[in-house]
């Protein structure tokens, strides 16, 4: 299998803290792609946005006692230089302001995500 270094992958995450079983895998895939030296971005929108509220991801733990929370996963993404972006319009949906967001998240509008989707080699939608 040829190396895919430098390819660009956009992961769109629409699931949040209310559905924990749908939150870990998209981040895991994103980190795996980053470890394979791809350029990776996760775009959080709809319910996905609420996991970026300060303190929220720490409360989500898929396997009790494992110590691996959703915040652990987000930190793993940040450590591996996965870009985290959030939909500006979805902040309103959750009554959030930019100050409510964890560090290392940038806010983008809808036109930006359309541009990005066209620019990336592959889009994974969750």
């Amino acid at each position: 299998m040829e190396d895919k270094e430098g390819k660009k992958i956009l992961v769109i995450q629409t699931h949040g803290v209310d559905t924990p079983t749908r939150t870990y895998s998209p981040i895991y895939y994103a980190v795996a792609a980053a470890a394979m030296e791809m350029d990776v971005m996760i775009w959080f929108t709809m319910n996905g946005t609420n996991q970026l509220r300060k303190g929220a991801a720490e409360e989500v733990c898929l396997v009790p006692g494992s110590g691996v929370t959703l915040r652990t996963m987000l930190d793993m993404a940040i450590d591996n230089e996965v870009k985290l972006r959030v939909c500006q319009q979805s902040l309103t949906l959750w009554d959030m302001t930019p100050d409510d967001l964890i560090d290392d998240v940038e806010i983008l509008g809808a036109t930006s995500i359309i541009d990005l989707a066209l620019d990336y080699d592959h889009v994974m939608y969750f």
Binding site: V31, A32, A34, A35, M36, E37, V68, D79, N80
Partner: protein, 155 residues
Amino acid sequence: MSNEKINNCVILTNLYYSVQDNTWVRVNDDGTVTIGMTDVAQSLAGPILHARPKKAGVSREKGKPIATVESGKWVGPVKSPMTGEIVEVNENLEKDAQLVNKSPYQNGWILKMKPENLEADLKDLLTGDAAVEAYRAKIDQDGVTCTHIEGTDEY
């Protein structure tokens, strides 16, 4: 071969370590180096499901990924402690990735590399007592206790 155990984590004092990236380097007689993950690294990752080294012939700079490793709870790169060309990868990891857990310093090696500038790169790594002390500090700071699955090498 001498070794130290800190919180059940094995450190072999004859290897060179990148403590930050949790990799080790063994200098071979033919001028190549063998690179692998440390006991601390395999413990933090948990039982490895897949270990995928880059291919032989690929040149890597220090700090760039030379393999990707995934467990049930962790996925990430193994960052190269040296600059050079990969000359051999451990094909056995494809059949049994948990060799990394069971034998991190022997049968679970990741790959061999022909370094571009061995002496210069070794200066950035720690060995002997300096490596042990650095790991002692890191293990204390991070609160790491190493765990070993069935079939792990005895030290």
